[in-house]
Symmetry: C2
DNA sequence: CTTTGTGCAAACGATTTGCAGGATG
DNA sequence: CATCCTGCAAATCGTTTGCACAAAG
């Protein structure tokens, strides 16, 4: 636990970010969950027991973390921005019933051929979004 | 042109939508462009010469068109909802420089194997989003 | 004539900003 | 001790809503 905390501090510093209790808490919270929360959900989670951070600070922490590449945005619903501390390439599955978002490991969707894209386009990265129904929402 | 207009009227009716000048204009506008505009851009385009529609009506027209499946949303940027009258399955390319979004024909990204998804998930549809740089933005 | 759409303005939710005080390196 | 961060409240952006009037089928 302490070891984990030290590691987070080091990662933040290595990326040129000052380590403040709030920023630490936001990043640690995001690392500890895989449900792609929105800023608001992180805020509530942090302040559940005792006030730890303000709304504006959560937003700015997320921006800072995003800028250095420690978190990324996940955009799968209209007007909703979710965050993910898993920055390794992976795909997403979104349940059309409950809205839950689940990671799909990179290796599980292989065989994509990007070679035939129109010339003139330079590919940086790509990802697949799968829409469907999860276990609990089979009765659509 | 007139032929095209008649066709649009028929499509709207076939989908159970009343044909109003505003709704017609929104759909025709979207059909005539491939740049995935936001609601606001459609509004401005329509009212460029003379007032044709109000903001609220553009939004509600888009909702109605979306509900019957004549247009779809494209979500590739934070907090921004774009619209597309091309509802055939296709993928998207987004330039990280200028933000331009370009369609990628479905056939151009083949070979995706969805078979190995975790059991319990039912696949509805999927799409690939490619991030990169377009012709004009090669100097990143 | 019944139902649905339009336009206006106000309301809304999510995110951003300005600024003064406080903490970090 | 210079720089950057925090917290508050106000501002902003895109979108939605309530309601009275108008138009479509």
């Amino acid at each position: 636990m302490q070891e984990q905390a030290d590691k987070i501090v080091k990662v933040l510093q290595a990326n040129g970010l000052r380590v403040t209790p709030q920023r630490f808490a936001v990043y640690a919270n995001l690392l500890g969950r895989s449900d792609h929360p929105r800023a608001e959900q992180i805020l509530q989670d942090l302040n559940q027991a005792a006030p730890q951070s303000s709304q504006a600070t959560v937003y700015s922490s997320l921006q800072a973390l995003k800028k250095v590449g420690l978190v990324r945005e996940v955009l799968l619903e209209e007007g909703v921005c979710r965050y993910d501390a898993n920055v390794d390439p992976h795909h997403h599955f979104r349940c059309q019933g409950c809205g839950e978002i689940e990671d799909i490991p990179w290796e599980q969707l292989q065989g994509i051929q990007l070679g035939s894209l129109r010339s003139g386009l330079t590919v940086g990265n790509y990802e697949v979004t799968v829409h469907g129904w999860c276990d609990r929402c089979q009765t659509h």
